[in-house]
């Protein structure tokens, strides 16, 4: 009671009634430390991934040295060059991007600039549905339904372009249903949702006044998109594409089932190939010694590649968002 009477009516607080300078209760500080440690867990896990997988892969790095970037992969003969897998990863990811990016940007523009709001919701649901279909189901469908169907198409295209200089070496025989190109198509389906939703977020931040200005000058919708939407969202869309690239490089199971499992470097896109995640998934089970270490090392390389791409992509997206807030 005495403490209360000491405080003046105008709030001229004495030292006893100054909760702002009081030490915070133990539970409160404990909770803050708990939350902080959960946040730090993300950094700890990322560092641990790098450290433990590199340790497991060190045997490969030390026994093979720079030969890890050579072409020969023959576990039976103790040859562990990873170049064919790096090549395959690059080829399938590029095919996936070439197919998915125009479609994704098209859908993003359709959602933001063309259809009214009540139509855009169902379209977003459908795109989300595409993201929920598990990787292994894409793979199952890819290898049992899609690849056999593509097999005929590839064979027809192959015999049509056989002998023509550039087309012949890209699309000519030997052809197979399970191939680089099939893997690229399946990966394209899988990265379309993420590229679409990120581009849509970026495009939605274009100020209405820019768009209305373009329309007021008599621009058609296409001219408005080129003149008002594109310059504003360029950076963010590039970031979205890079994130799609990271996904396409790391997507494992679907690629493992449809890529054809043949570690070769070839210009023939319709022939069987291999990529980094697929070889880990398919061969890790029976591997030991240097073989296992080599697969672990391919994982380390994949981790490094995807981290670099993701850091760049997130950097671009974040910088873009900041500039927009500042503007």
């Amino acid at each position: 009671m005495s403490a209360v009477t000491e405080v003046g009516p105008a709030g001229t607080a004495g030292p006893t009634a100054s909760p702002l300078t009081e030490r915070r209760p133990l539970g409160d500080r404990g909770f803050q430390i708990l939350a902080l440690s959960c946040g730090l867990l993300v950094l700890v896990i990322l560092v641990l991934i790098a450290v433990t997988t590199s340790q497991q892969a060190s045997l490969w790095f030390t026994t093979e040295g720079w030969k890890i970037f050579t072409y020969n992969w023959n576990p039976a003969a103790n040859q562990f060059g990873a170049l064919a897998f790096i090549f395959g990863t690059a080829v399938t990811a590029v095919i996936a991007l070439v197919l998915a990016v125009p479609v994704s940007i098209g859908i993003a523009l359709l959602l933001t600039e063309v259809v009214p709001y009540r139509w855009s919701r169902p379209i977003v649901y459908v795109i989300d549905l595409l993201a929920v279909v598990p990787s292994v189901v894409w793979g199952l469908w890819g290898i049992l339904v899609f690849a056999p169907w593509l097999n005929h198409i590839y064979a027809d295209i192959g015999s049509a372009v056989n002998g023509i200089p550039v087309l012949g070496s890209l699309f000519g025989p030997p052809t197979s249903g399970a191939s680089f190109f099939t893997a690229g198509i399946i990966l394209a389906f899988m990265i379309t949702p993420i590229v679409t939703s990120l581009s849509r977020e970026v495009i939605a931040t274009v100020p209405a006044i820019d768009k209305e200005g373009a329309y007021a000058l008599g621009a058609t919708r296409l001219e408005m998109i080129r003149g008002a939407v594109w310059p504003h969202s360029q950076g963010g869309v590039v970031g979205a594409i890079l994130l799609g690239l990271g996904r396409a490089m790391g997507e494992t199971i679907a690629a493992a089932l449809v890529i054809g499992s043949s570690p070769v470097i070839t210009s023939h896109l319709f022939s069987p190939g291999y990529n980094m995640p697929a070889v880990i998934a398919n061969q890790f089970g029976e591997a030991s010694g240097v073989f296992r270490s080599a697969l672990m090392g391919i994982g380390v390389l994949l981790f490094v590649f995807t981290i670099i791409i993701n850091v760049i992509a997130r950097g671009i997206v974040e910088r873009n968002a900041r500039r927009k807030r500042g503007a």
Partner: protein, 297 residues
Amino acid sequence: MAVVTEQQGVDLREPRGWRRTSNRIATVLMVVSFVVVLIPLGFVLFTVIAKGASVISWQFLTGSPIPPNVLPANIGGMWPAILGTLEITGLATVLAVPLGVLGAIYLNEYGGKNWLAALIGFMSDVMTGVPSIIMGLFIFSIWVLHFGFSGLAGAFALGCLMLPIVIRSTYEMLRLVPNSLREGSYALGATKSRVTLTVVLPAAIGGIVSGALLAVARAAGETAPLLFTILVVTEPNPNVFSGANTSLPSQIFVNASSPYVGAQDRGWGAALTLIAICFILMIVARLVTARFARYTH
């Protein structure tokens, strides 16, 4: 003045010629790109439902797998895989969701704009892009090599995958909670932890739950992190903490690589079961958002 009055009125008619044509082509291309996506989605769902529905029965859902070369599809079942998926995904959820929510609380409530929170937020976004198979290799090196294969190891791998997703979605939801709520409770003399736990979290709970369910749906369909952490077994393993286990995605992967028609048919049945689980989680997430979300974008 004379010049102005002589000028023609602005031409408000639709542009003609190439400008109109190119605009129409662009619009058509946008619609076509959506249709291009609809076709494979419809095709996949149709195939899985058509081929899976003929396999699924009570016996399929509760029986154990049989050797892959046995032909009739309607013997053998997926119970070990269904049990494994429920166990492992459930345990991963119990591990990852509280940690992710606490991490997001740090980012939004405590970190604010300081460099550490910015770094953690950035790296957690980067972590969502780490391929799922890397999580499998990571848990294999840090856990399986020392303690052996188990459902727990699989749950660790799936948890690593879910953690950044939960952090991101929870963070977005916490950001939507109006500051006036926090200030009101501070004015009543509540401590920060009390404000966070009794005012901020309940206000955002709808969005947090729905984000967590979407993360669970993503994890339930993942195969790659489980390949080297749980293996594949044919008998149900009710003990999630020890012994090799199996899951629906792993079982589908095995069956898809199998040349036997019977195994492939069971693969379609398992695929339908898995898609049904994922879709149910997604629909529940939408319902939760619709019913409980108080603050939306």
